[in-house]
Symmetry: C2
Subunit: 197 residues, 2 copies
């Protein structure tokens, strides 16, 4: 990896943690300079500005979740099992990338124009993926209910950044299992035998 790319990566990673801690808007470019070890002006050699920093963080992270989910789903064909895999992947990825995922969840409306549109396009694909899984799991359910259920599930999973403590007594796998149990038990109920994995 070229030194240039390494430094950009470093900047993005530091920026993600600062955005996560302090929020995108209150964070100043001077904060990011201090956190990344660069000078204020130096960052502009790597990035067009503050908004591009946020956009890059969100796009890259979201693409990784999407790709990771698609790959995880290849491990099964049974609908309930696939839904379980989706949940497990999302939750463990969230826990393993807390800063980026918090920025993705909490700053979903902090971008504007073309940048916002680009991230929303990835989000659309990701939501569609889940809604497809729900269709296979609960085909009798109305479209509106399935859609609402999808957002309810995202709510359970994305709310994590508000309370989850990685150093606490509940590990990501267990949390994923709990959420999967709640959702599948309550929504996909009595359609297939469920087992934690």
């Amino acid at each position: 990896m070229r030194p240039y790319d390494e430094r950009l990566e470093h900047l993005l990673a530091r920026a993600a943690t600062v955005f996560a801690e302090r929020g995108y808007h209150p964070t100043t470019m001077r904060d990011l300079a201090a956190a990344s070890g660069m000078s204020l002006a130096g960052m502009y050699y790597y990035v067009r500005g503050k908004a591009e920093l946020l956009a890059l963080i969100q796009e890259r992270c979201f693409m990784r979740v999407l790709a990771g989910a698609e790959q995880a789903l290849r491990a099964a064909t049974d609908p309930v099992e696939r839904l379980q895999l989706f949940i497990r992947h999302h939750v463990t990825f969230f826990a393993a990338n807390l800063a980026e995922m918090k920025v993705l969840s909490h700053e979903a409306n902090s971008l504007a124009g073309e940048r916002q549109r680009k991230v929303n396009a990835i989000k659309r694909r990701y939501v569609d993926l889940l809604e497809g899984l729900l269709r296979d799991v609960a085909p009798d359910e109305s479209r509106a209910d399935r859609s609402a259920a999808a957002y309810a599930l995202f709510g359970m999973m994305n709310w994590i950044y508000n309370w989850y403590d990685p150093a606490g007594e509940i590990d990501p796998d267990r949390l994923a299992g709990l959420i999967a149990r709640i959702f599948i038990g309550g929504f996909a109920e009595a359609r297939s035998t469920v087992q934690g994995g």
Copy 2:
């Protein structure tokens, strides 16, 4: 109601909708002046500053949810029924007060110092209330799992502001029923076989 109180109420209501639409930090006092019909300086006759505006919105709204929940719970003694009442109240209140509740959920960390502490104290009471209900519903569950489940439920319910459209085809009551079904079906019932306890 005295004209003074009426105007303060008006200011708080308008501020809540602007904070909800644009976010607390990007919103300027000039935005709030325009939205409330007051002059920039005029608002300072009613409020100490921007932070106090947010604090008042959050405190008042949170106290109303808490009181409303406590009252709603008086209608039943059966644990599962009480949990259902809690969920129904939270969701319908959320839908009926979208702006304030979005500000409460999304700007939970936008206050500092004493103001933050004051709101967090109400939140503590509200979370305790739900955890108590979960204790009655699932006494075998570990404390950590119950706590995580409580936050999962809050996630489903509070995430609403990210997607719920009051003009859409799903009404608040139906949404409350769906969320209650998911959570109660997955957490409170089917206590028997599933691993992870």
